[in-house]
Each structure stands twice: as C-alpha cells, then as structure tokens.
Symmetry: D2
C-alpha cells in the first residue's frame, strides 16, 4: 500500500472552484471534490476536517454509482473508499462535498491530503461540456435528505448528489461546478439582508466564507476565470429575494444600513423595490458575461413557485436590450407540490429529477 500526497498525483482531477493549493486541497463548494481513475484492490483518502458549528458531509461514487455517505468528524484521518476489488480493473472514484460552503461557520472545511492505494493512477478524461450552476438552497440540494417532517437546518439534509445540478451534468456527460448559498438571492436574502446577495461574491474564489481561516486558505482571492470557462451557466436565483416582502426589515448591526422589500397598501409589491431587484438581475448578467464571454446563460426559476417571474424576465430583457447579448434566456423549472416535496418544505428528489429533465432538454436544444 502506497500513500501519495494529492499534490503528487498528476492524474487527479479536482472538481469545484478552489485555490491552486494542493497541500492540502481545500474543498469550498457543494459538489467540489476530486475524481480519479485507479487500479488496485484498495483506495483510502486522507482528509482533514474542521468546523465550529456545521460539520461537513461527503458522498462518493465508484464507477459512477453512489456508494457511501457520512458525517465527517473533526481531525485528520484516513477514510476507506473501497477494498477487496479486482486489482487489474481501473475504478473511477469521485469524492463529493455534500455540504455547501457554510457562510455561517468560518471554520467548516474539508481538506484532502493524500490517497493510499495499491494500484496505479490513470488520467481522467476531460468532458466536452462544462456547466456552472449558481443558486440558493435549491442548488445546494437542501431538503434532499430527511423525512418530510424534518425542520432542523442541519448539514445532514443537504445533498450534492441528488440535486438537479448533478443530475443534469450526469445526463449531459458534463463537468460542473456549483456556486450556491441557502437563503440568498440576487438582490437580498430571504430576510432582506442586502449582504447576502450572490453577485457580491461571484468574482472571488469563495469570499462568502467569513473570518481569518478563509483568508488564510485563499478563499477571498480573486477567481481566475480563464482557468475554467463554462459553456453553460445556469442561474437559479430569485426565490429568496421575493420572500423579503413578507419578512421584517433587516438592519446591518455594524453599518446601520436598513433594507426591506416593501408592499404597497393594496398588497402589491412596491414598484421601487421590484425595480431594484430587476436592476440586480441585469447587473448580475453583466458580471457573468464579463467573466464568461462565451457561455450560454440560462436563468432558471420556478422550483418553489413563480411569483417573481415577470420581474426576472424584465431584468433579463433590460440587460439584453442594453447589451445586445443574445446568449441569455429564461427557463421555467417544474414546481414543488405535495407529490415531489422533500424535507424542510424544499423540492424533493422527484422534483429535482423533473427539473433536470427539463433543463437537459433545453440545453440540448440551444447548444
């Protein structure tokens, strides 16, 4: 049995937006991890796990099929992936961070140090298609584990492998990355927090993680977009923004800044706030285009209803009008109802499958 540092395995494929550091490799985002093709009878991975509140979970596949899923304890230790297998055959193994980057816990990380094995590593073939998924809890796979009645907001109920992003990428044989945060929006979070807006963090590696550890790990560094250019960007945002209309005002404890999506007396959405949201949509599209000059951008919406659909479309429309950009479109995804709901009132496995089907059909059409 040999132990090889990740930095020494040329054939290792790293998934997800991260730094150049490989000693160890730090996993920030949902579905980030590594993939390898390896012969031999056994494979182990050496992880180093830290957290204060929210423990990370991981899942892994062997030859594309889900094998295991477990909670990670703090510390540095070895985890077995497989053993007792045919030494000659090459096995494809992929390790997935099941949990999103947790902006609420600046110490919640998985680091990958090394692999222990008795075989040989072989290159992982590059996919012809690359997709980036940008979203909120839906894209973070929240509610894809756990019984329907579950209400606790805990890492256990997040899944990288059951969500529409993973299913879509698998069906299209695409490499994919996820950039998502539960509760966040384009313009504000579900509870009107203006800082919890995805676009503010898009240009750095993982700047929504707070604190010194993230600084040390390089999460706040600018992301070099030239290293990975997606063919398709799927934005699935807007669901939380609209929740703000029915939530109390947010006050920034430090700056005193205040914000709330307001309703008119007749109950309709305040025009000014809707316009600000539309502006945020248009601005984010501009940012996305600057960073990804050739990607087809698909703004998806609808897995938890379509109350803000017209405003999203108007935001898109205004961006397209101004920019002349023709590679942007809007796609409605299937809604959640009692037949396809998961835990925590979120879309369940069936809803994510249905969404992936619609998205796959659409992407095939436009490419």
């Amino acid at each position: 049995m040999t132990e090889t540092a990740v930095s020494m395995i040329q054939e290792l494929k790293v998934h997800g937006r991260t730094t150049n550091e490989r000693a160890p490799l730090t996993l920030f985002w949902t579905a980030s991890g590594f993939e390898c093709n390896v012969s031999g009878t056994e494979l182990w991975v050496e992880v180093e796990v830290t957290y204060d509140i929210y423990e990370p979970w991981f899942s892994y596949t062997v030859n594309g099929d889900w094998i295991g899923r477990q909670m990670l304890l703090p510390g540095r230790y070895w985890i077995p992936m497989f053993r007792g297998m045919n030494p000659e055959k090459i096995k494809n193994v992929r390790f997935y961070k099941d949990l999103q980057a947790m902006s609420g816990d600046g110490n919640s990380y998985i680091h990958i140090h090394a692999l222990r094995h008795d075989g040989v590593f072989y290159p992982v073939e590059e996919k012809k298609l690359k997709i980036e998924f940008i979203g909120d809890s839906i894209t973070s796979g929240e509610g894809l584990f756990g019984a329907k009645e579950e209400e606790d907001w805990v890492p256990m109920f997040f899944s990288a492998l059951r969500d529409y992003a993973c299913l879509t990428a698998k069906e299209l044989d695409a490499e994919y990355r996820v950039f998502s945060q539960s509760g966040w929006g384009v313009y504000n979070s579900w509870d009107n927090n203006r800082n919890s807006a995805i676009p503010k963090y898009y240009k750095e590696i993982c700047s929504l993680m707070p604190g010194e550890e993230n600084e040390r790990l390089g999460g706040n560094q600018p992301h070099n977009f030239s290293t990975w250019q997606p063919d398709v960007i799927v934005v699935n945002l807007g669901t939380n923004d609209v929740a703000g209309f029915d939530q109390p005002e947010w006050v920034d404890e430090i700056t005193g800044e205040r914000h709330k999506m307001r309703r008119e007396e007749n109950g309709s959405f305040c025009k000014e706030d809707v316009n600000a949201f539309k502006g945020a949509v248009a601005d984010f599209l501009k940012t996305l285009r600057e960073c990804n000059p050739n990607a087809q951008i698909i703004w998806c919406y609808g897995m938890l209803g379509i109350p803000f659909q017209m405003s999203i479309m108007e935001g898109i429309s205004s961006y397209m009008e101004k920019s002349g950009d023709q590679k942007v479109s809007y796609l409605q995804l299937p809604n959640t109802d009692e037949t396809n709901v998961g835990s925590r009132q979120h879309p369940g496995v069936l809803c994510h499958k249905q969404a992936a089907e619609v998205l796959v059909g659409y992407i095939k059409q436009i490419l």
Copy 2:
C-alpha cells in the same frame, strides 16, 4: 452528553435474530440492528467491528429516511448518527447491518456497545405485523449498490435498505427479519455444495457462521422460536439450486461426499435430482411449520427467472397434500431484465421495488 450501555437502555428495540447477550449486542444477519426513539441534539453509537476478509457495512435512517452508509473499519469506536438537532423533538433512529452473515469469514461481526446522547429514550412502538424473509443473494440485497458492470463479490455491493424485504416491511408497517445467504439454496448451493443449504441452519441462531468466534458469540445455539413468531414467512429460494445443473460436481474435502445436479442426455433435468430437490422443498416447509405454527408461508420465486417453478410447486404441493397444511402458497415475483438489473447481474433497485409491490399486494390479500 451521556454514554449508556446498550444493556441499560430498556427502550432500545433490537432487530434481527441474535442471542440474549447485550454487552455487547452482536449483529449477525442482514438488516439486523437496533432502533430507538430519542430526544436531544446528538446521538452516537459505539461499535466494535471485526473481520478477516469481508468488512461489514452499515446504513441508518432518521425518522424513516435513509441518512448514511459507510464501510466499517476494525476496532471499537464511536460513530455519529446526528448532531445539531432540535433538542425537544423525538427522533426515530434505526441502524441496519447492510451485509449478510458472511459464512466465508468467521470473524465478520458488528457489535453494538453503547449510545452517547443528550436526550431521553422513549419506547419504540411494537408493529402489528411480523415478517421473516428467508433467501439467498437476492434477499441479502446483493447487487443493489454498484454500477451495472461491477463483477467483484465484495460487501460494498450488498444492501439491507434497498432490498424487497425492507421495502415490503416498510409498506406494510411490519417488523421483519432476514435469514439469507448468497449462493445458497434449499437443497444445494449454486456450485452443488450440499452443505450450503439454508434448511440445515434454520433452527440455530446463526450456525452458518464458521469457527470459534461464532461458538463464543452463541451463534451456534438453538434459536428460541417462541421469542419471535412471524405472521408471514417469505421463502425466496430455488434460484441457486437450479444453477447446479450447469456446474461441476462438488466434492466435500473432508468427508469425500460428492454431489451434482445432473442433466439427462437430451439436456433435460435428471428426474432423480429434481425429486430430491422437491423433497427438500417439502422438508423445509415441514421444518418451518414446526417452528412457526401459525405463520402464512409464501414461497416466492422468479426474480432471476422461473426455470424451477414447476418443481418448487410440486414440492409445495406434496407437502400440502401430506400435511393438510392450508397456510402455504406460491407467488411468482417480477423477473430481472435489462431495464431493472443492478450490479453483478442481480436484480436492481427497480426490480426489488416491483417485487415488493407484488408481495405487498399479495400479503394484504391473504391476511
């Protein structure tokens, strides 16, 4: 956080055929384990795991929903089940041994020592229905994990949670036990071994596990059938017996005994051997009835084809004729084809779902 020995938790429900020993509780069979209702924010389980060749795996559910699955390393250590949850709410947790009793490794065991928690245990409600499943690799859930192309015979590809036994019990809200061994039959194993016949071991707790450790653990002790009387017994055997017609003769290395299911010159099954098989079917039914006076016995067959169907029926028929026993019946289960196959050419998840559906419908009818 409190650590409580399993032997001290009155409210703990033990699943699966085992001894009376609780310090620790030894898990022998597929789907054996424990179940508890517990409040508090965290729950951990202290396991002790041994094996020479075949490492055990486990899965667990929280409130009935599958949460985790992992390979178990040797040693005695704590594993987390959940953390960070609402302290007030009572969580139902069930731990499943994913791997069958491994007759090929006399040291492959999971022992449960204790639970660590910060809540209170509550009783687990007794189910109104009890079902025992007796079978081979199909009932051991072989092939329910792993990609279709997998051929390695390793513990990783066995599943207690995805098999028709678990699905049937869940749908009927029944407590269930599994008594099964991959490759074995009623009369002989797939490779003509006359010792690998399930009926020979039915009266002891787990006598198909070899060696001193099993002796020490009590696996060779007679099973006290009065402690757990099933309402329904599902026998799913016969698939391996028929394989012997196309396998070489078996020779017992110690006794020199020889056996082979033979074909006539025209290719048809040798009558004498078929009759011996039928006799074994009838004899096993007699045994089952002696041990379980009131159970409905359903002999199932068909998930890997029905070549031996007529002979099984004739065995049943001859038993019923002789005994006058009316509570025995035969049920064909859905076959495996390219649409529902799993790994290792075994029935896949879809096939087990289809089988459970047929079985549930039938059990509802006869009860």
Copy 3:
C-alpha cells in the same frame, strides 16, 4: 322510445360558444357539444352534418369514460350512444366535436336536432369553475391521433378529448370552452397572414368561419360575454407567430396588403416586427380583460419550444404596466421531444398530460 327535440330538453347542458338557436343546436368549436343525465336503456342522437372538404368527427363519453369516436358522414341521421343498459341508473353522456371550427371549409358543421331515449332526463350540475382555452393547433388537439409518421393535415388527427384543455378541465372539475385555430397566432399566422390572428375574431361567436352558411347560422354575430364568464382564461398563442420569420411574405390577394416577420442580416429577429408582436400581445390582453372583467388570465407557451418567450413576457409586462391589471401571468408548459411527440410533429398524448399537470398545479395555486 321517445324522440325529443333538443330545444325541448330543459335539462340538456350545451357546451361551447354558440348561438341561442336550438332547432337545431350548431356546434362550431373544438369540444363543443352537449351533456345530459338520462336514465333508460338506450340513447341516440340525431345529427345533421355538412362539409365540403373537412368532415367533422365526434367522440363521446359515458359516465366520464371515453366510449366512441367516428367520422361523420354528410346528412341527417341517428347515431346510437348506448343500448342494453340498466333502465334505472342515470347515465351521464357527453358528446364532443373532435374537430376545430374549420376556417378552410365554410360548410363544415355538426348540428344536433334531437335525442331518442326510453328514460328520463335529469339536470346536469353546474361546475364551480369555468375555464376558456384560446389557442392554435396545440389547443385544437392536432396530432393527438395518428402514427408519428403521419403528415396529412386531415380532421382524423384532431382530438378534443386527449388535449391538455380537456385534461385540465377534468382534473379541476371545471366547465370549459375552446377557441382555437390551427396555424394561427396573436399577430400573424405561421405563414405571415395578418388575417389569421385570433384576436380579430374573439368578440364574435365564430366569425373565422367564412361564407354565407356561417352568416345564416349566426356565427358572425357578436358574442354576448355576459352569458358565460370564465374564472380562468388560458391563452396558448405565439407558437405560429414566430414561424413567420422563416416563411415567405404573405400577400393578401384582395387588398394587396403584404406582411412578413423579418430577420436582421445577422439572423436575429427584426426589432420592429418583434415590437409589433408585443403590441399584439398587449392589445389582446386588453380585449380579453374588457370582455372578461374578473378572469385570471394565464398566458401559456412552450409546448413547441420557447423562442418567443421573452417577447411574450414583454408584451404581457407592457400591458400590466399600462393597465395596472394584476390578474395576468405567464406560465411555461412542457416542451415536445422525441419521447412525447404525437403525429404531424405536434405534442402527443404524453406531452398534453404533462402540460395539463403543470397547468392544474398552477391554477390551483392562483385561485
């Protein structure tokens, strides 16, 4: 057996937009017909059928279940609905015109004269919900009969009973009407004809049927909207308008008027034409609101792709902005692909089912 003129049967429910004339009752639109609750062993209907080119077809249900479907020959004659049934039981019978109003054949009509029966008529209960469906070939159910390879544009391949309108109404237990024409749009037809725009004909009973016979039958009379106010209007238009970009210019043979949806040199849609389309969307919404002050209006689109989605949304948006009307929304319906296509490259039975499911979910939500 009694023969009773339709005008004499108070309990008869007439479906579909038509005149006040009942001697006979004329059926213009898809899914128009009659419904009755009647006891007795037999029921016959006396029809009078005319056409020059396109023969009408009808289907009927007994107690909600589809029973028959046939081509109608010209002439006046009796057709049996059922016979030999239990005389006491009340049967619900509904007769559906399977074919749309055929603007290409001014003599294509079904008239209903009388019913022959040996039972008693009972009132048909009023539904609590009323829905109007306005559309093109999709809403006319084109392609819902016939093998995939069929290309003939013939009445045989139109179906009132398999289309999403019927399925949606059935699921919601709603009364419904269909106002649709194959090949037509909001602003122009698939071949750029400006006269083949649904909005031009919305205010009359059935003014898109040409010629003297329609004049005589009253199809050109204004429709009295106060007689039937829908709770929901589903507009499913826009699919044909966009086809004009790739079709030759249309020239009106009489007035010499010319029209074409043009492309820019770079292949994109000509802005001026797109704006005219948006205007037509907005104008039609204004008309719909004038005629139906309280209806929820849902503009649906997507069963044959979403190339014009942004423009439809912008048209809706501009209408809502100007009018302040909040009871208008946009809903994307499932697309047609190789798995759900019917004959003539149109959405098939499965696609219409999927569409109905989405629409039902959405209507339940907004009501």
Copy 4:
C-alpha cells in the same frame, strides 16, 4: 372510387379463426378482422351486421394507431375509414371486431363484403411470430372501456385493442388470434355450467355460437389447424372455474345434468372437484398439443388473483409427467387492485399493460 369485393382482394390479410368463405368474410372472434396496405385518398368498408341482443362494435387503426371505435347498427352499409389523405402514400389499415363471439346471441355477427377505394392494394407482410390467446372475459377485453362504477354486461365495455393479447402481439410484432369467452373456464363456467368449458369447442371454427345461423355460416365446422400453426399458445383460464365454489349448483335444463364445485365442511375446496379440474387442465393441454405440435404453451393466470394456482400447476405437472412434453410452462400475471382496475371489477388498461409486459419478457426468453 372503386368498390372491390373482399374475395377479389388478393392482398387482403384476414385475421382470426374463420371459414374459407369470403363472400362475405364472417368475423367470429375478438380481434378478428382484416388488414390491408392501400394507397389512395379514401377507404371505405362495406359491412353487414346482424344481432338480436348484443350489437357488435369495431375499432380500427391506421398505420398502427387507433383511429375510431363505434357501435354497429344492423344492416348492410358502408363505413368510412379515412379520407383526404395523400394519394401516393401507402396506408396500413386494420379493422378489429371489438366484441367476442357472443354465445348468448346466435345472430351477433359482422360480415365484411367489400372495400371502396381510389388506390392500389399492396401485400401485407407476414409476421415471423404467431400467437394464439385462449381465455375468458380477461382475454375478451371485458372491462377495458367504461367507468369504474359500470356494472352492465354490455358489448360497449369489451375491447380488442386495449387487452393484453393485442399489446403483447404488438410489442413482439406478432400475428395473433383470440379464442375466448366471458365467464367460461377449463372445466366449468363461473356459475358451474359444465357446457361452458372452452376445451369442448376448441376443435371447431366457432362452435360455441348457438343456432342455425352459425350452422349456416360454418362456425360448427372443424377447424383445419394446418392452416395456421401458432408458435406460442397463451392459455389464460382457471379464473371462472374457481368461482363455482361459491355459486349455486347448475342444472342442465335439457339433460338434467347437475354440477357444482363443492367446498368441504371446513371451507376448503372439495378434493374430488379439484381433481376433476386438474384433469380438465391436463386434458386440454393434450388437446392443444395434438392440434399444435410445435407450439410453446404458456398457461397464464393471476390477473384476478391466484386462488387456483396450485391446482393449475398440478394439472400441468401431471400432463407433463405423462406426456414427457417439455414445451409447456406456467406464468403468473400481475393482479388487479384498486390502482389498475377497469370497469365491471375487471382488470383495467394499466393491468393489461403490466400483464403484456410480463408476458413479452417471458416469451422473448423462451423463444
């Protein structure tokens, strides 16, 4: 337009067991009819229909897709199949008798006289596989039309096109024939009538139709089995035989013969009667083999429960033992429950689909 007598159309394919007479062609059994490949714009069929009580119904397909279904009035007249189609293209048209041979109405027949057309007939390709289905109401497609609550026993609720026989043949691209009678069994009918046993009539063309008209038409003539040898025979009988245990004794009004399937005092089936049933199963298999030397015979059972399964198997077993015939097997079909039931408590469309799926899989395996 040309009118051509059926006897003059060499290219016409006749389906179903019938006489050699073609002027006209008489249709006796479910799914009997004709098939043709024809060019031209129109096709009409001249039928002659008679009945006293039970009117026949027919369905037809164009290019394999179901197009129409209607009740047939008495008399001789022309019915349109299609019109307005592309004159060049060859259309495949098949006419199906939807109703079984009605042993309760000696005058219920459809005769086919001629076809009217403006095209040319082309040969119908012979299928490589031939299947005969022998059964009761299930195989006659009873309950495949009509709402669940329907209880009237009328022709309207029988369907040739929705039943498992048609679906199986379509999936296997096989030619098929149906020999079936509602309420009948192998040994006795549901109400203990010993004359209503399918085997008694198997050797003649259609001798279960009573009266002079059948004599005149040749229905009582011996069937020449050499003209059509099936590769597979599906027997789906036994469901009615067992009903006799709970029905009153039958008395033959003419001969005074009496019969009843009896129960023992403890409620179990009377052994003597069960043995007589088993004998009837064995005897029928002997007859089938005599008439069809090379066919695979599959005895199916289970679409309305499996109470008589063991007895059927024992009958089969005893036949196989005595004859040495190896080309006989037993197959259980999916049961009817609340999710797949049709009208009149019979298997519905979904149940027939499920049955066809199982049967198709099995036939593929054994051929």
